[in-house]
């Protein structure tokens, strides 16, 4: 498909509190030190609702605000693509606990937060955006599935689109069979046309080639630990501001070949 333009990037992950730190780590200038992820409060929500939001909403909202602001585009004007493997996993666990107990009364808030698009719903409310928004799941292919939805949307709408790929952990017992040790997410704004703000042009295609690994062992471990962190090889190209082609994990046997030309 035709090229689109990357306007901004945001990253939050363990030892990667922001894109500036991530750039330094991805260039090999600073080692990755896995640390608990401090998430800012859900800035777009009123204080009463802000207190009730969990990791999924706080993570995705922080990624979205930073990516939109860096792109210089009003939040309300951005159509959005949210993709994660489990939505709000903490909330899901709480409901499962309640349903397994003697008193199965679920709180209404817990229930409406159980939809996979809860984070997207809070985003559209907080951003006051009536633009289209979708929420996807592709198990471990969180990042690839997001690109495959967002880039055709950019072309179809002929306007900038916000992609937010994020994953967070279930508590035990689900954590034991679906471990996601750290929250991790990537925000990106893509534009159909090159602007003064454009960081890179991006093209992609499905391929059956093997996906790229990170040279650094700690980054490679993180890439494999969290589905959204499968974005790391593409982020490394951007951090190094090099033109190049990289293959990121999608759904075997198909992977995603991404051609990046930094501008």
């Amino acid at each position: 498909m035709r090229q689109v333009f990357l306007e901004s990037v945001s990253v939050i992950g363990p030892g990667l509190p922001n894109w500036e730190t991530a750039t330094s780590v991805l260039r090999g200038e600073t080692p990755l030190v896995l640390a608990d992820v401090a998430l800012p409060p859900a800035a777009l929500l009123p204080p009463t609702e802000r207190r009730r939001t969990g990791t999924a909403t706080r993570l995705s909202m922080a990624l979205g605000v930073e990516a939109a602001e860096k792109a210089g585009i009003a939040l309300a004007a951005l159509p959005s693509v949210f993709v994660s493997t489990g939505g709000d996993c903490e909330n899901c666990h709480q409901i499962l606990e309640t349903l397994a107990s003697d008193d199965r009364s679920i709180s209404p808030t817990r229930f409406h937060n159980s939809v996979h698009n809860a984070a997207a719903g809070y985003w559209s409310i907080g951003a006051k955006s009536m633009e289209t928004s979708t929420s996807l799941c592709a198990y471990d292919a969180t990042f690839g599935a997001g690109l495959l939805e967002a880039l055709p949307l950019v072309v179809s709408l002929d306007k900038p689109v916000l992609l937010i790929a994020f994953d967070s952990a279930y508590p035990d017992p689900l954590n034991a069979i679906r471990p996601i040790p750290y929250p991790f997410g990537v925000g990106m704004v893509f534009s159909p046309v090159q602007t003064a703000q454009s960081l890179a042009s991006v093209r992609f295609a499905l391929t059956d080639e093997a996906s790229a690994q990170m040279e650094d062992a700690a980054l490679e471990a993180l890439r494999l630990m969290v589905p959204a962190a499968r974005a790391l090889p593409m982020l490394a190209l951007l951090a190094n501001q090099t033109a190049g082609r990289v293959v990121v994990d999608y759904l075997a046997p198909s992977q995603l070949a991404i051609e990046v030309t930094c501008l």
Binding site: M1, R2, A76, T85, G86, G87, C92, I95, L96, E97, L99, A100, R104, S105, I106, S107, P108, R110, F111, H112, N113, S114, V115, H116, N117, A118, A120, G121, Y122, S124, I125, A127, K128, S129, M130, E131, T132, S133, T134, S135, L136, C137, A138, Y139, A141, A145, L148, L151, P152, V155, S156, P173, L174, A176, I177, R178, L206, L251, P253, S254
Partner: protein
Amino acid sequence: MKPLLMSSYTATSALGVGLAEQIAALKAKQSGIVKKSWETVSFEFCTGEVAGVDEVVLPDAVKHFDCRNNQLAYLALQQDGFETAVLHAITKYGPNRVAVLLGTSTSGILSTEVAYRERDPETGALPVGHRYRQTQNTYSLADFVRTYFGLTGIANVVSTACSSSAKVFAAAERLIECGLADAAIVGGVDSLCLTTIYGFSSLQLVSVAPCKPYDVARNGISIGEGAAFALLEQPERADVKQGIYLTGYGETSDAHHMSSPHPEGLGAQQAMRAALSMAGLTPAEIGYINLHGTATPSNDAAEGKAVTALFGKNTPCSSTKGHTGHTLGAAGGLEAIFSAIALTEGFLPAGVGTTELDPDIACHYLLDNQVANIQHVLTNSFGFGGSNCSLIFSKG
């Protein structure tokens, strides 16, 4: 958009298995909603359950996907020659060129609901062998279908609550238009589970009696389950040239509230307007509107305002949720098929369960089936989180 042909499609709901049973029940104004007890739910409730789902046996090659949602998916896939049509498309286009884009809200979470009751009392661990990936995970449905057909290309699940399986039609159009796929299996499956039964009850959105969309006395939904599949292809490359086409779609967000619609139906109205614009149609050219029509007081009031604001008072419309119950993540796909049925069978289905229309809603709601040779149908799907999607199907 360039119209996409639905070269094969099928539906399974509380009305029956496959298209013929849907058509017969719609023509007979039958409802599949009954009051019953289900699983370990502590109260009887009115529900549109699909008969025989528990007895469905998945083939050995995909039996690790076994859960109620995939059993229902498999049951539906076997109907109306759909599987043959998919295999033909795979031969024609290649296994990496047929995308799988499906909608679900709760996937196979019932399996994990049961597993949580069976946790080890000492360690709290889930039963050995509980398969999260192939049951509960939202992607399980598309993973199952992709694996079953041996597909190797693009697949994902859209999960935007009750608009999920409408939005996959739009996503498929974009993928095909960009050249990333030649055809797409779209649709959705949602099945009964405790999360939705107790959850909608906690919101006091479940009707005691079978639901009554657009009725003055409506007081909530009836939870249903269902499955719908359609194969979308570019008409110039399809073997058949006559049929039902996707000709427009519109997607918006309410940006209002997580579980209540915008009171004026603003987002809904914008979605319908966008769909009409994409299809290049005027409101007067739509012969029937399949409403979202959940039968909650707020949904029907807001949607009714949006419909009349755009279409006036004369366009025939109805909700088929009185027949099937609200099949949640499957509703968009199921009602896309009902829209196709209205076009091919030349009749507009009356809403069942409704006896006295709400005088505050001015749209032309059908209480009796109507014979009509129409060209274009619009169908609405709205979900929690304020997710709206309108689709237009046309006869060609």
